[in-house]
Symmetry: C3
Subunit: 326 residues, 3 copies
């Protein structure tokens, strides 16, 4: 898929040799390559998780400029807690310092993200932990990292559950990485069904929960989006990783997920090609899905257009409250 779609963007024929592709890429320069792929992705609004690397290579604003898009920040919860710990905060002050840091860091953000899946798995308890529980857990965690030069890595069920509830209290949509990623993950602890008790506990607040990626649990995620009014799902990452199987994946994910609860996502990171491939593959998969529905007379053309708008833009605008101007 990569070799069919990407070389033409750089002025090469499809299926060009990888060496020629690399040479052409170097010749054009990173900025021009990024600009071409991001422009072709055709994204008008981006939500960017800034927590993955110690210092992001490209800020949301820069990324937005390259893509000609409005860019919004998603704040990674564990990162904020790790920054608070790295600043030397003690256990007693931890809960308050995290709340305060999160309030500051999310002042202009549109959501928060939990990478619990990569740390202790999605088997979170449902109840909001008490401050005493948070203090005790923070004490254990901070003590375990004492004397080490690296910033401590958070992998504690109580503290990560606390972070999720902090996000809920800020009334910001809470994203969860769900399903596969890399070999760090124990995939059987990344089944979104493990979140059921927590989803049930968050439901009364009305705060949206965004289940990201989900493969190979996309049917289970679709079920959660059907039965819980505040749960939204996407199929990012898998779309470009599966390539030609993207239409099959989309069809499975939409078996139960309502059209109003499914979002486009690229999960692109690093390579600008991924932004383009994610968008191109998703558009083509959605288009195939809708065209088949029209062929079978399942909905009208008007309805198909509305569904495309919802999935590609309107659902995200509503859940993240991105404003009508975007």
């Amino acid at each position: 898929m990569f070799l069919r779609l990407c070389p033409p963007v750089l002025g090469l024929p499809p299926h060009a040799a990888l060496a020629d592709y690399a040479a052409r890429r170097a010749e054009l320069g990173a900025a021009e390559v990024s600009k071409r792929f991001l422009a072709l992705a055709g994204t008008s609004v981006m939500c960017v998780d800034t927590g993955y690397v110690p210092e992001p290579i490209t800020s949301p604003a820069e990324l937005g400029d390259l893509a000609g898009a409005a860019a919004h920040e998603i704040v990674r919860l564990e990162r904020v807690a790790e920054d608070v710990a790295a600043a030397g905060t003690g256990a007693a002050a931890f809960a308050g310092a995290v709340r305060s840091a999160l309030a500051t860091r999310t002042a202009s953000a549109v959501g928060v993200k939990s990478v619990e899946a990569y740390r202790t798995g999605l088997g979170l308890l449902d109840e909001r932990p008490s401050d005493a529980e948070v203090t005790a857990a923070a004490g254990r965690w901070l003590a375990s990292g004492a004397g080490q030069s690296d910033p401590p890595r958070l992998a504690d069920e109580t503290l990560q559950r606390f972070l999720v509830w902090c996000g809920v209290d800020l009334r910001l949509p809470v994203q969860f990485h769900v399903g596969y990623g890399d070999s760090d993950v124990d995939l059987d602890r990344c089944n979104p069904l493990l979140l059921t008790p927590l989803l049930r506990a968050i439901q009364p607040t009305g705060v949206p929960v965004m289940l990201l990626h989900n493969y190979p649990y996309h049917r289970e995620a679709g079920y959660l989006a059907q039965v819980f009014p505040h749960v939204y799902v996407d199929a990012g990452l898998a779309t470009h990783n599966l390539g030609r199987r993207a239409p099959a994946l989309l069809a499975e994910a939409l078996e139960l997920a309502p059209f109003g609860k499914f979002l486009y996502s690229s999960d692109a990171f690093g390579l600008p090609e991924l932004y383009y491939l994610g968008a191109a593959l998703f558009r083509s998969a959605l288009s195939e899905f809708l065209r088949a529905g029209l062929d079978e007379d399942l909905f009208t053309e008007r309805a198909a257009v509305r569904v495309a708008r919802m999935i590609c833009a309107d659902n995200a605008k509503r859940a993240y409250r991105l404003g009508s101007g975007m």
Copy 2:
């Protein structure tokens, strides 16, 4: 799917506006609407679970009359136990009272049903509980509901396992709700594989076990139907909920499930439209499945007709012993 198939039944064009549909429905009246959809469902024999509401709106006999079909009752196990408890039975008399009530209630029934999936999940132990264990469990359960006006809700592994074995002792097919339903369910406790030890324990009795619905665990259910001679499966509920994906679902379910172990089911309830949609979507999915097999020369036309008869009628007649006259 609803908007394509249902309006014409009421004399409206496909994709009629919902408001027009509701107006036409009111104009025709509930009885006429029910009759039209049930007649089109083309069901000749129905098995009706009567345990969902305190007082069923439509009895099996009335439903059968509307549909022009023979109607048989499936008795919900938990309901019988809850009725016994509501009648003031004490713990010591509980096991005997349940056995006696079940014998009475199932006198003309063709099967029993467990909704364990909605209560404590499908992780049932295999062994038949002793009367002492049932008495102890009943004591705990009845005490927990003491002083409350509502009838107690049964959610106890020992008691529900006891109920299943009561059904087995009556030599009636035992249905299990499996897989998704609504947000009450913890879907990860509804995987039919959790029933494996119990299925193994029931196998020597030869009593059929009917796994209902099964989505998204329909492949797992198909596996159980393949390896256990007394296990049968269907794909009810999902057929009409998935709509256009019903053929894909059926193809997956039939990967391992033998043709002689798969049953049609509508899981329709309440709206008469659901009886019609369930039947229409299933017929169209099965027809697509069989036509593809004929196109690929996988079986003869004679074999395809036999498979259709088995799945749409004969398997149910055999498992539920419905008699040759139906």
Copy 3:
């Protein structure tokens, strides 16, 4: 599928009656029937698990002769341990005796196989057990079988994990039966994701781990093949059991599994028809997969040929070090 493909091999028309088929089979004799089906399977190299029956009906060499193929042995780990126990070895000498017997038995073998899935499930711990742990476990196991005439059946997590590490120490590819088999298996304990900690522990050794069969966990297996460089997968058994759904299964398995990590497997055993059906169905499924990719211009014809070679031969040659002459 059977009835379409197999009768013509014996000179009968497709969809011949089973009685005619059986008569024709008897008339030709077992040797001729085996020869015809094995020749048509077109296998050039076979890896044969010799551990299933007390005395194999057909040795790898005989099977290779019938098929006109080079045949290599896969040694079943549990079988070797059971033979050591049956020879009267005590607990103290057990670890050493197993290591020695395995070295002898695998002298000309190309891999070992664990049927842990059928015994205690795939939830193996990761660490190599100490000799003291092995001795203690062996003592318990040998004592449990004392005084019985049948050879003891191994179902012990510590001992089976020990066997896997023995295979790793011999630097032989370690096969695991994964996913469905028969009703002995608790399928929910056969999810390959349960092997994740062990796979992570084996990774530094570079010894290949071969996940066999995998249905219905073939997507999970594909994920493991993607993220772990030493993990390989196949879809044996399911290919001929699923028949017409083999192309769908293959497409799902290859969503994440890299082309260089997927192997052909028949999982044929006993009936020579299964060798032929496994091969014919797999070839047709792979051919459909590759043709669709060519139609969509996803890769060049040259790339399609390379992928076919990898999956049908080269991946196996590399992982099992079968030598370039074969």
